[in-house]
């Protein structure tokens, strides 16, 4: 494998910049790609080179496989896919291989293997990783099925083989209910999907989403970088992650992390990856799926281990061995990440794109900000609404939470609404503070209405400031004759022109 001297990131926003940062540090040249809509996105300026991959403003898609690979090939650049887009796309990886472009990620075979949930579970079971107990096959004989259910232990969940969206599903708490539940699930599945096949799985009570970060190289080395707790989710989207998990015991951690590292060693996986587990209230853990990419939440792992995961991915793609052995990795403190979305939490998290008239990121100690925005940036409509990730760390979890509250209080964003008030509310929630929260947290333990209630019911301060502003505006209107600016220009363009005026004259 040749040394990587240039990296094209087939992605945008904060993750493109995050990867460029490691490249810049390592002295590796960087290449950005962008769409017409993203011409002013900050990743375009951060890179040494930048190429547009769309033909016109009407096309906002980054999924331009052939163009991207052609650019990388021409420039002699390796490709890092980030997350989303072409990450976990075996076909893209194969095309890179075919064109002789280095892909910074796992092999096509591993991407494909983990791309199918059932396939991944079969492989992992084979590699010694526990999966949620159950029959993978449709239930044909009720009495046989009952026997299996007894072995698994109630409660169990019946699920339609061809199902989805909750139809053909039944939770069964005891054997007496098994038969009737099975019939209902089967008939519901028949009606909904034209096929009545149903299978059975253990139902995990108060499930936690805990994942293990792993790294492998092409020389058969594989290590884990410990775990992350990702149970704070809204509509199956992670919003706050922490490392290490405050819920799992030291014993569970040791078992889970070892099982993960051993498994990827066994299957010969290389580059970064994540094994997602569901952990029950009883600390039993079961493999759910494996992500064959850099995760959004990887910074919390970097903060507690001191490992730059992107740097390792680049070394591994060059064919070098990992810079760390398992015994070099230890947990140092605690880290938390909040994903900042351009959404209005007091209005059912509706999207809130627009112009960032003020954008000041937090400073001071124990902060890591990974941002894809800047003051004056107009957040486009077409992409993911996550504009930044903010991480805080400390020696203890309580310290990290204290720090995060201080940090979020400094984040100044005007022009759009963000999810920051939601994060602050979570950070004050007693269940969250206890460290024992499951994936039902938002639904069961969190009061969304809280967000709409103002802490300060006294309106004196807003009334005073609005009144003074009204007076100032009246004075300006009165003292000047003004012409109406063009209505089709954004405020920002108008501002730009005004500034240019004053310069031309000044």
């Amino acid at each position: 494998m040749p040394e990587i001297k240039k990296v094209l990131v087939a992605n945008r926003g904060e993750i493109a910049i995050r990867i460029f940062r490691t490249c810049r540090k390592m002295g590796i040249k960087t290449v950005a790609i962008y769409t017409h809509a993203d011409r002013k996105a900050p990743h375009v300026r951060y890179a040494d080179e930048a190429y547009c991959i769309t033909d016109g403003p009407g096309d906002t898609s980054y999924l331009k496989k052939d163009r991207i690979i052609a650019i990388a090939k021409k420039l002699g650049a390796a490709i890092h896919p980030g997350y989303g887009f072409y990450a976990e796309n075996a076909d893209f990886r194969r095309s890179c291989d075919a064109e002789g472009v280095v892909f910074i990620g796992p092999s096509a075979e591993h991407i494909e293997m983990m791309g199918s949930k059932t396939g991944a579970r079969a492989v992992m079971t084979e590699a010694g990783v526990p999966t949620v107990p159950g029959t993978k096959n449709p239930i044909r004989d009720v009495e046989d099925a009952k026997k299996v259910a007894r072995e698994i232990g109630y409660p169990i969940m019946l699920k339609a083989v061809y199902g989805g969206g909750g139809k053909g599903m039944r939770l069964v708490h005891k054997e007496e209910d098994f038969e009737s539940s099975f019939r209902m699930a089967s008939s519901e599945a028949q009606n909904a999907f034209g096929n009545g096949d149903v299978y059975m799985e253990k139902f995990i009570i108060q499930p936690h989403h805990v994942e293990v970060q792993v790294l492998g190289d092409m020389h058969g080395n594989a290590i884990h970088l410990f775990d992350r707790e990702c149970s704070i989710q809204r509509r199956h989207q992670k919003v706050i992650e922490e490392a290490p998990s405050p819920f799992i015991s030291a014993e569970t951690r040791a078992k889970m992390c070892k099982v993960a590292a051993d498994a990827i060693k066994k299957i010969g996986y290389y580059s970064a990856g994540t094994l997602e587990f569901i952990v029950g209230a009883d600390q039993n853990f079961y493999f759910l799926e494996m992500n064959t990419r850099l995760q959004v939440e990887h910074p919390v792992t970097e903060m507690i281990t001191g490992v730059d995961i992107v740097r390792e991915m680049i070394f591994v793609a060059e064919g070098k061995p990992l810079n760390y052995k398992q015994e070099d990795i230890s947990i140092n403190g605690h880290a938390i990440e909040c994903r900042i979305y351009a959404e209005d939490p007091s209005n059912n998290f509706s999207p809130s794109p627009g112009l960032l008239t003020v954008y000041q990121t937090p400073e001071g100690p124990n902060v890591r900000v990974e941002s894809g925005a800047y003051q004056g940036y107009e957040i486009p409509l077409y992409y993911d609404p996550m504009i930044a990730k903010v991480c805080a760390n400390s020696k203890t979890r309580a310290g990290a939470i204290e720090n995060m509250k201080r940090i979020l209080s400094e984040y100044m964003i005007s022009g759009i609404k963000t999810s920051i008030p939601f994060h602050i509310a979570v950070l004050k929630n007693e269940t969250f503070l206890s460290g024992v929260y499951d994936t039902g947290f938002i639904d069961n333990k969190f009061d969304m209405e809280e967000l709409k209630r103002k802490q300060e019911q006294d309106v004196t301060v807003p009334v005073i400031v609005a009144s003074i502003k009204q007076l100032l505006s009246e004075k300006i209107s009165a003292s000047r004759a003004v012409t109406r600016p063009e209505v089709d220009e954004s405020d920002w363009k108008r501002f730009g022109k005004m500034i240019n005026f004053s310069k031309t004259l000044g």
Partner: protein, 177 residues
């Protein structure tokens, strides 16, 4: 010479009207009487929307945007919508605020583009029935009829090309009567 004003301020979600007597003592220095109580205020603009306001020694970094007589104010993370009117505007508003039922104009509540239109002009619609789909940041948002009635007008066209059907906050989308 001190500039003086009397304003009537109302805050969304908060009952009652606040009577504000404002005196500008010097640049950036005000005495503000709210409902009979005096406050000493030092008021400085920091940038586009951030103001540094010191009220009787308490320091606030206030985020404020202005739309006509309405002010979107954020203080310590709390959001307030304040309307500030003088005597004349207040009288005008009282005159016109007899509520109009019947004709309802639907406006865009967020920027985005119109991906699909589900009803035609002349169609009967129920309250809550979707009329069109607005896409913003990869998410689809149904624009629903506010009442039972007839779709009278459509101000927008749908397109899968975002450039051709972009709408801004407050853009009129349709009329139901």
């Amino acid at each position: 010479m001190a500039v003086k004003r009397t304003y009537y301020a109302t805050v969304d979600g908060h009952d009652g009207e606040n009577i504000v007597n404002l005196t500008e003592n010097a640049h950036a220095n005000y005495t503000v009487n709210v409902n009979g109580k005096d406050y000493q205020v030092d008021f400085e603009q920091i940038n586009d929307t951030i103001f540094s306001v010191i009220i009787d020694g308490k320091s606030y970094a206030v985020d404020m945007t202005e739309k006509g007589d309405k002010f979107d104010v954020i203080v310590n993370g709390d959001h307030f919508n304040v309307e500030v009117l003088d005597e004349m505007k207040r009288l005008m508003k009282m005159r016109t605020s007899t509520t109009v039922e019947g004709r309802q104009v639907i406006e865009a509540q967020m920027p985005g583009y119109i991906w699909k239109i589900l009803k035609d002009v002349g169609d009967e619609v129920k309250a809550g029935e979707p009329i069109m789909i607005l896409v913003a940041m990869k998410m689809e948002n149904e624009i629903k009829s506010p009442k039972d009635g007839i779709l009278q007008e459509l101000f927008v066209k749908a397109s899968e090309n975002p450039q051709e059907s972009t709408v801004a906050i407050g853009d009129k989308l349709a009329v139901v009567e």
